[in-house]
């Protein structure tokens, strides 16, 4: 089993619902975003860089098979699960940020200050907080917690805390365009493997040799 994701750029409407769902479900402190959606070629989101040319590109951790972030981590805080998911153990991380220098996709985020303090700067009414309230341990390792420690790294955890309950990641469930699909990339008959085959799935920065488990399907035309 190699858990992978396919994102159909034809179906992505650039609404950033996945970004919001991800931020809220995973209690990301102010300033940190595990997931982002951009309009390639344009300075502004949702603005065509050229007349008639516009598509949207969601980016988060690519759960690389040859993950440089994992290889550089001096304490094995960043590690790969059996299903290929790359995780960060919040209790283990020493905060050296080597992994952030190593990741070519810029998806890793650091807790530069106490996350509670950071989020207080939002000034939400009545101290409103968000996020899945329970911490989650996978084989004893703390891979999700609603309030992070100061000075540790975080990034997309493929919603392991939901996968454990048989649920798809928050971004998949929250996508109104149904652009996101999760499945087994090792199984040639799985829906995701078929999508990659039939629709010319590609990965980002193949030249870096990271071998991502996140694939993209190219868009055919401009979404209007």
């Amino acid at each position: 089993m190699r858990r992978g994701m396919v994102i159909d750029l034809e179906k992505c409407i650039g609404c950033r619902s996945c970004v919001v769902a991800c931020k809220q479900h995973n209690a990301q402190p102010a300033g940190n975003w595990w997931n982002r959606v951009v309009t390639p070629g344009s300075e502004r989101h949702l603005t065509p860089p050229e007349k008639g040319k516009e598509y949207f590109l969601p980016i988060h951790c690519q759960h690389c098979n040859n993950a440089p972030c994992e290889k550089v981590c001096p304490v094995n805080a960043t590690y790969t699960e059996e299903d290929g998911t790359v995780l960060v153990d919040f209790e283990r991380c020493i905060g050296c940020r080597y992994c952030m220098a190593a990741c070519p996709y810029g998806v890793r985020q650091f807790n530069w200050e106490d996350p509670k303090k950071a989020t207080a700067r939002y000034g939400y009414q009545d101290g409103y907080t968000y996020g899945h309230p329970q911490e989650f341990r996978l084989k004893g390792r703390l891979v999700y917690m609603p309030s992070r420690f100061k000075g540790v790294v975080e990034k997309c955890n493929f919603c392991v805390h939901y996968a454990d309950k048989g649920l798809d990641p928050a971004c998949v469930r929250g996508c109104p365009g149904n652009a996101r699909h999760v499945g087994d990339l090792d199984d040639p008959d799985s829906r995701v493997s078929k999508m990659i085959r039939d629709k010319n799935g590609f990965t980002l920065l193949p030249e870096k040799g990271t071998k991502p488990n996140v694939y993209y399907l190219p868009p055919k035309r401009k979404e209007v």
Binding site: P49, P74, N76, G95, C96, D114
Partner: protein, 411 residues
Amino acid sequence: MSTSKKIGFAITGLLMLAGLVAWGIQVKEGLVLTNMRNSYTWGLYVAGLAFFVGNAAGGLVLSSMIYLFGVTSLKPFAKIGALCAFANVTAAMLAILPDIGQPIRLYNLVLHPQWRSPLVWDIIVLNLYAALSLLYLYLLMLPDFQGPLKKIALKVDHPKEFSEKWAKRLAPYSLAAAVGIHVITAWIFATQGARDWWNSAVLAPDFVAAALASGTAIVLLVCLLTYGLKDEYTQAYRTMAIFIAVALFTHIFFMYNDFFIHYWYGATEALDVLSITFKKYALAHAFEVVAPLAGVILLLSSNVRKSAGAMMTSCFLIIAGIFVHRFLLMPGAFDRVPLTIAPLGMQNTEFSVPIASGQYEPLMNTFVTEWHYFPSGIEIAIFLGVLAYVGFLIILAIDRLPIVKIEKAQT
């Protein structure tokens, strides 16, 4: 104790204290007090690691020159060499400490080391090198321990011969360790395919070359400060000057060789990276080349070598130039977001995918493609504290230990 030593202790002591206080504040508030952010994750602290590791080269290179290659004129300076090596390699570890977000968890390095990480290898070789240079210093001082220091002296029949014999035996290992710390520190950067600026096979050899220049310049500087100019040292100073010059020319050759190859091929990514150093940091780059070059050209002139002041200025230029060189490791790697894509269906367009900055500020962009980094006051205070530690340790050791004693008795 002389007044100049007292002033030295006072200045370095105060700077160390200030650095310690700054680190305390940073531990409490978090690395938000630095000017690094998600898109610019390493700065002055890591540049400091590279700088001090490089400076540590001189010491054991000196001892290996004496004991492996028979350059006996350098013998009076062997102890200063080992001392500078120890001071700088421990400073390298101190410089990287404040970069750690959770310093309390450092025990994880012992409990759960991850053997594929170049950082783990580096920590091991740096500690080995520190131990080795301390051992070297001890061996070299062995024949000269007097008074209360006699208590720590190893009881051997012929301390002089013993010291000589073991210094010789250890020399090959110290040379290997000296090369090792630079190569492995360079691998921390050079292995990173995500950063085109670092990902080069020449980085490690270049690191060694730059280290030999700045490391030897530091030893020369300390020798000049303690022994001054004397006829009997002319030959030794000349040898060091030539050695520094050869190392520096090699470093500049390695550096420009790399630039040239990338420039000639002209890939957009490579040109973008080069333009950071050559345009955005043009002045700093000019300094990193011109200052040390001027320094070695001066040192090579026998007239300049008649003035201790001029020689010290030259050493200072070399060390400052290499410091700027180490600092410039960062902009080339972090000023440009590594994830740049060619948007589908568009010609000749390159698009940098913005990164979340990591800090919420009402007036600041949430996602950034550029981050202007200059170290914050806290970072500078901590760095100066580490620099002061090097000075403090060297003055203290020279004051308390038989490092320059015998020569003093002669004058």
